[in-house]
Symmetry: C2
Subunit: 333 residues, 2 copies
């Protein structure tokens, strides 16, 4: 872990940059910009995210390693949400001079840990002094123009598919905020909730399955980083369609029910956010095939309608419907 007491201001910008360049491939650093080779038949996809100490992460619930991991996962998830394979990321870090160098390096180790799973290079960045630690990540990837997942291409009749469980990240946060609460979680449930919050996995693994679907079949989609309900709402608004979600089709993780009860668990599931699953809309037959291939907790949870309403059916009976509350999503200000 190196010298604990070494501060950023002791090293200076040049010294710190030299240390952090270890996390970049040798051939791309040291110039005004990074040069990357791209696939000539693909389009470039770019996405950016800013995380601020005390707003998006805190030392109380998140180690610096996990801060780096989560920031990276969020950006790679945005690429997955576009159907794009990552080419690289850049990291713009601003931080106080009295921050420990080791803390900063832990962030980069976390970034590196997440990137290595996919594998994606860190191709550049900038560091500078500030009173508050801020991490700005820009990720870029490439996608065949026919395979881009847009929010605007959902059509009435499409099945709505989720690639995995929801609400776990919010449950993990609850456990971290209240570590001493009584709960009857099995160790494996406990670990899964914590990991969902600290080390989420962007669903880039889903993309190869999408390439097997004919180009003529439009797939709408986005990730559920701001919550499952928000994802459904965004797709419906952008595609000018409605949706009906069957709540009985939404699998609730057992540990989540033990932790907060069924009703709260369903709230987490719809509005918790940061699960980084994909929400995809595509014709029923292709959706069924995709669910089979993805396995695990992939599931069809409802369908796109040609109305404008987004409804949640609590049971199979259409009488018991309530409208999704658009205002429950995470607000940044």
């Amino acid at each position: 872990m190196g010298d604990k007491s070494l501060l950023v201001k002791d090293l200076g910008e040049r010294g710190l940059l030299e240390r952090l360049q270890r996390y970049c491939p040798v051939d791309v650093v040291g110039d005004d910009g990074a040069i990357l080779t791209t696939d000539p038949h693909k389009s470039l996809v770019v996405t950016t995210d800013v995380l601020v100490d005390g707003v998006h992460f805190s030392d109380r619930t998140t180690s610096p390693y996990d801060v780096g991991w989560r920031a990276t996962a969020a950006n790679l998830s945005d690429l997955a949400a576009m159907g794009a394979t990552p080419l690289g990321i850049t990291v713009g870090l601003s931080l106080p001079g009295d921050k420990e160098v080791d803390w900063v390096e832990e962030i980069y180790r976390g970034i590196d840990g997440c990137l290595n799973l996919y594998p994606t290079p860190l191709v550049g960045g900038d560091i500078c002094r500030s009173t508050v630690t801020t991490i700005a990540i820009t990720a870029f990837g490439e996608v065949s123009p026919q395979k881009a997942l847009l929010r605007s291409s959902a059509r009435p009749g499409d099945a709505i598919l989720v690639t995995g469980l929801h609400g776990l990240s919010r449950g993990g946060l609850e456990l971290l905020l209240h570590p001493n609460q009584e709960n009857n979680l099995e160790p494996i449930e406990f670990q899964r909730l914590i990991k969902a919050h600290q080390r989420p996995l962007p669903r880039l693994d889903v993309l190869p399955y999408l390439t097997q679907i004919p180009d003529s079949i439009a797939i709408a989609g986005m990730d559920s980083s701001d919550g499952l309900a928000d994802a459904v709402i965004q797709i419906c608004e952008n595609s000018n369609v409605g949706a009906i979600i069957n709540l009985t089709n939404l699998k609730v993780f057992s540990g989540l029910i033990k932790l907060v009860g069924l009703e709260q668990a369903q709230e987490y599931l719809l509005y918790g956010g940061e699960d980084f699953e994909l929400v995809l809309c595509l014709p029923q037959n292709h959706a069924l095939l995709l669910v089979e291939k993805l396995g695990n907790d992939a599931k069809i949870i409802g369908k796109i309608t040609d109305g404008k309403e987004i409804k949640i059916a609590l049971q199979e009976s259409p009488d018991l419907e309530k409208t999704l509350n658009i205002n429950k999503g995470f607000r940044h200000f």
Copy 2:
């Protein structure tokens, strides 16, 4: 200018994003990432920069419009420094909730003003709450692999060429910091210094001239954003060569001498930074031709040597040499 008293927290993230999306092309916003078409024969170039309130800019010397302009110019200059034509930029903005919406919009107007000269789209971004305003810009562009300007390809015998005057941005800052000082500047000199600081122009206009030079001629280069001396030092270190700069060849702007005297003006010229000119190293004959085409204040200022020393010749006599002081550059911590 809109409603002066409207605050960021009154609009919320969604409302603010909607306002700022006016500055983006309609077809690229509203999804998880922006999709851009690239030239199949070119490489992707990526660069990123972070600017922090109180460190890189302040309300005292810089209006929000100019903050946006300068941040954009710095990033486009990094692309120019790689020989790359811009494809787009993303902006990650973190700011206090009690910031005026109009202030934020002025930043985007400044970004837009600079981008429109080249013309380059703003293709995405993120905004979030923080205690300190931070702007993280990532710019990406494309370059023919043979035309990339690297710091590492300078060769002994190459002429060292600057595309314009240096020290003016530092002089402009001096004027802004001490507005009431006595000086004998002509209005045109005054304006030029101020503009050099507030509205610098990245030298993307130089790139078409470089494409006229045969691909077999390697051109080394970078921009002088951290100072002319720093640029020469970086190129020499990365190319494993030395350099001799002839100080008598370095044209000093008349207004700068009036403002601070010749000696201080030469200091600004070498170490001031933020002039965003290009420093290029190429064979003498091509350099002479390029200077002629560029006109204005483009000039050959010295040559690359096969030693390791970087020397400044004060006069034509080689006795009067001093070694460039590597430590004088801008330090961020």
